[in-house]
Amino acid sequence: MALNIIVLIKQIIDIDQIRTDPNTGEPVTQGIPFRVENLSKNAIEAAVQLKEKNGGKVTGIIFGTDKANAAMKEAYAMGVDDGIIITGYAGNNPSLTAHVISEKIKSISDYNVIILGNQSADSYTGVLPGLIAGKLSVPILGNAVSIEAEDGKIKIRRALEDKDQIISAPTPCVVSVTQEINQPRLPPVLQIMAAGRKPIKTEQPSLVDIHAGKVLSNLAPKSERRRQIFEDASKGSEEVAKAIRSEIK
């Protein structure tokens, strides 16, 4: 069964490169590049593997900014067939993101499955899979560590805190993936070059008035640790043992 797969890709500021000002605690984001969010790479890999096994095509959607071309090219190089960038992303606001993306998906009538990461690394809200499934009125299979398609159904395996489950739902449905699902491929140079020449559709969002929370502050948490570092293992072990002993009741 050939599958029409949609993968949702998030582009984020490279959070590993963000430093916070030691005096003010303010995050310094100026000049820091954007990258494809790690879990989005797992989602792309899962989508492309599903296509390779069942046939069909993968459409990537980014709700981002005009800087998102590089992210989409990376997705192309990994095996995504078509790409749509919706511009106008203006910060973390899951309800608005879900609205924009689900309005776009409604115009792609014959899709079978929407794949996305379960909780992205920057804001960590984790509510987008439910929001999108809710707005499209389709079932949701969450936290997949493997995905299989079989006649009109999607089956996933997932690891919850205390149990492992295999669950299924009829298509179309939403599947959220965890980082354990796969090791995203590193595309060969030829594919990267070919990806650079492939067209990307850029569209305007159907915006609505959904307000995000008003940010009162966004600062590094204060760390009041002593930071007493020993390079002498004997001295260090002695001091550490003393500190531990004072806390053993």
Partner: protein
């Protein structure tokens, strides 16, 4: 004020209900097999859900339970809870304040705190959201004298079907309650090497725990022992980090510890910025020395 609280994990309901019960009337919803842990949470009403929970039928049950009469819906951030929050939001049009670890309510506004930029910052926001997802472990549960009025509610059939379910072996440990935690990272090198750490665990009468790679990628320890943004949030009296580099996602899970000890061979490892005592060197040399000193 009237609150609806839901989690598939009873303990998480108790945490949130403890925090909310002084602010108003709490109606708690959880799975029937979680009854014991919620009974004394100070909820006025306890609704026990029967059946196989999926986000579709659970959100349906909550929406069908006079949802508009509640001022706020609090949902614990588990995989099921996050989906339920999304579905309720899509259905009601109310926005979600997500993954919060602290909050205060001022009439129709709620002030929330959550981690941002992968845990590098704390974002404080003022929301008009009526749905809140709460990071498990954010509040300390305590028992209340008030007994809940109990009722059961059958979940409807769902589009999602359970094909197979296997309980994962659980050692019954709860690292969130541990007074001393010895935590290992990738730097431990192998599953077998964890044995070499156990003398320190027994000398401190502590619990062993691990970072995300150790628990999820390599599975050297079970998932219930994972400390971090995506795992357990712990606040022991002493947290001993062995071979843990100190990725911000890990720090977010142990920031509440009273004393942090770090052992790492890389003197530039970020964990040394977040510790009280640090020793630079080979953990397999240093751990026996600490044990020896503890026995003196």
């Amino acid at each position: 004020m009237k609150f609806l609280v839901f989690s598939d994990i009873g303990k998480n309901v108790a945490e949130i209900a403890t925090k909310l019960r002084d602010l108003g009337e709490v109606h708690s919803f959880t799975m029937k097999n979680q009854r014991e842990t919620v009974l004394k949470s100070g909820s006025k009403r306890l609704v026990l859900l029967e059946g196989t929970p999926f986000s579709g039928n659970v959100s349906g049950a909550l929406i069908g339970s006079d949802l508009p009469t509640y001022d706020y819906v609090f949902i614990s951030s588990t995989p099921l809870g996050r989906e339920v929050a999304g579905l309720i939001s899509a259905s009601t049009g109310n926005t979600i304040a997500s993954e919060i670890f602290d909050f205060s309510i001022d009439n129709d506004k709620i002030k929330t705190k959550r981690f941002f930029f992968g845990g590098k910052t704390i974002m404080e926001e003022e929301n008009s959201s009526k749905i809140v997802t709460v990071t498990p472990g954010s509040f300390e549960p305590s028992e209340s004298a008030e007994t809940a009025q109990e009722e059961t509610l059958a979940l409807s059939d769902s589009h999602e079907k359970l094909i197979e379910e296997k309980d994962r072996e659980s050692s019954g440990t709860n690292i969130e309650a541990a007074g001393i935690i010895v935590s290992v990272g990738r730097g431990i090198g192998s599953k077998e090497a964890i044995e070499k750490i156990m003398p320190l665990v027994s000398a401190t009468r502590g619990e062993i725990a691990g970072s995300r790679p150790v628990c999820l990628d390599y599975r050297w320890l079970s998932e219930e022992r994972q400390v971090g943004l995506s795992g357990k949030k712990v606040k022991p009296r002493v947290y001993i980090a062995l071979g843990i580099s100190g990725q911000i996602q890990h720090i977010a899970g142990m920031r509440g510890s009273k004393i942090v000890v770090a052992v790492n061979k890389d003197k530039d490892a970020p964990i040394f910025q977040e510790c009280d005592y640090g020793i630079v060197g080979d953990l397999f040399q240093i751990v026996p020395k600490i044990v020896e000193n503890l026995k003196k």
